[in-house]
């Protein structure tokens, strides 16, 4: 496994807010990573530090083995697509795509043209006159057609409708299969992308909670449901991520994979075991307990 990005002990604070707290991780070459977490968890800050747009005060960041800041050799192989991208006054969508073609060596104009047709992007319209969806499409098209060896998508689909989003996922997968590269998708829409991801990185309040293969992350928890007393007995001694109850019944999400004996024990106690989707896992790991008691 080649690590194209290696981060150790990275910390960053803005005034009195800790954005990143001793973060260490690595991004694997030619892998699609999901960077998940709530708003303000530190995803964008992390990506800004990895792409040389921000300066790491503590810790080290190595991209392609070097510091990314002001490093043209490294930066020319990175594409960072973010929602809040600013564009020069009076630029049209066409101008943006043309400009991008000058800076990304792997730029595929044919692919870009195809995407423009599929996303129905009006090339002659000025950026400031584009709808939210069209603006997102611009970012997405640049990110895909650039074929940069390391590509970050920071929630670039916020403006896209469901059809356009699916189009993005499909094209991303297709192109990634033909031209493998390292991709990082930062998103809230976890269920939509869950099947695309090979690795999952979950960040919460500046700390890494999960950094694992998607498959393992998916099986990292199980929901146990049934009569409240039986559930509590089963859950005793295990790490509980989430608990909810209704009357005499309760459902508890416990961390860790259950062994065959555990499953047998659950069965015997009349408990139902069900898997936890990646989205639920992320939600339950990053929020607190939720009790709904009905007398």
């Amino acid at each position: 496994m080649n690590a194209v990005v290696e981060v150790t002990g990275l910390s960053k604070r803005f005034k009195d807010v800790v954005a990143l707290d001793d973060v260490s991780l690595s991004l694997h070459e030619n892998t699609i990573h999901g960077l998940l977490g709530r708003n303000g968890a530190g995803k964008t800050t992390l990506m800004q530090l990895l792409t040389g747009q921000d300066f790491p005060p503590h810790g080290t960041v190595r991209v392609f083995g070097q510091h990314p800041v002001e490093n043209a050799a490294v930066l020319r192989r990175i594409c960072f697509i973010k929602e809040s991208q600013k564009y020069p006054e009076n630029f049209t969508a066409g101008h943006v795509l043309r400009s991008a073609s000058w800076f990304y060596e792997g730029w595929d104009q044919g692919f870009a043209d195809q995407l423009v047709r599929e996303f129905r992007l009006p090339l002659k319209r000025e950026i400031k006159k584009l709808s939210r969806g069209q603006l997102s499409a611009v970012g997405v098209i640049v990110g895909l057609a650039a074929r940069a060896p390391l590509t970050f998508f920071d929630e670039p689909y916020l403006g896209l409708d469901a059809v356009a989003r699916q189009l993005f996922y499909d094209r991303l997968l297709e192109d990634y299969a033909e031209h493998p590269r390292t991709v990082v998708l930062s998103t809230h829409l976890i269920d939509e992308v869950a099947n695309l991801l090979e690795r999952v990185i979950l960040i919460d309040q500046g700390r890494i909670l999960i950094d694992d293969e998607a498959e393992n992350a998916r099986r990292a928890a199980t929901t146990v449901a049934g009569r409240a007393d039986a559930v509590d007995a089963f859950a005793a001694g295990r790490e509980v991520l989430h608990r909810s109850g209704l009357g005499g019944l309760s459902a508890v999400t416990v961390r860790g994979q259950l062994s065959d004996q555990d499953r047998a024990a659950a069965d015997a106690a009349g408990l139902d075991l069900s898997p936890v989707s990646l989205q639920d896992l992320v939600v339950r790991t990053t929020s607190g307990t939720d009790r709904k008691e009905v007398a």
Partner: protein
């Protein structure tokens, strides 16, 4: 795609089903990993894992430069494997559920007869 089994296992099982049903004949070519990935909308690496699982089990084999093919005798082997698991995966739960509901052996046999003709 259900949440229970890992995706690559589901892919493998789907291919197995297609082989058993004859949709994928022996010595016939199987879609490429990228095609599977695009069709199911999953990561190519995951699709690859599923395919490799079957290669390791001797169900599929690779012809260099051409693609993946169904191994000779794969169908028969798969069916035999499934038969062995039939008892645990289907009969076991059926009998347990019947016991829960108080359905005795005679009633079960009657139901089976009826079911066969349905």
């Amino acid at each position: 795609m259900d949440e229970g089994k890992p995706i690559f296992v589901q892919i493998a099982e789907q291919i197995e089903n297609d082989i058993i049903s004859g949709a994928l004949p022996e010595e016939g070519q199987v879609p490429s990993t990228n095609e599977f990935a695009a069709f199911h909308r999953i990561n190519p690496a995951t699709a690859g894992k599923g395919v490799n699982r079957l290669v390791d089990a001797g169900v599929l084999y690779k012809r260099r430069g051409i693609g993946m093919f169904v191994a000779e005798g794969a169908r028969a082997r798969l069916i035999e494997g499934r038969r062995e698991r039939f008892q645990d995966e289907y009969l076991g739960p059926l009998l347990a559920e019947a016991a829960k509901l108080g359905i005795d052996r005679q009633q079960l046999i009657t139901m089976l007869e009826k079911g066969k003709n349905a």
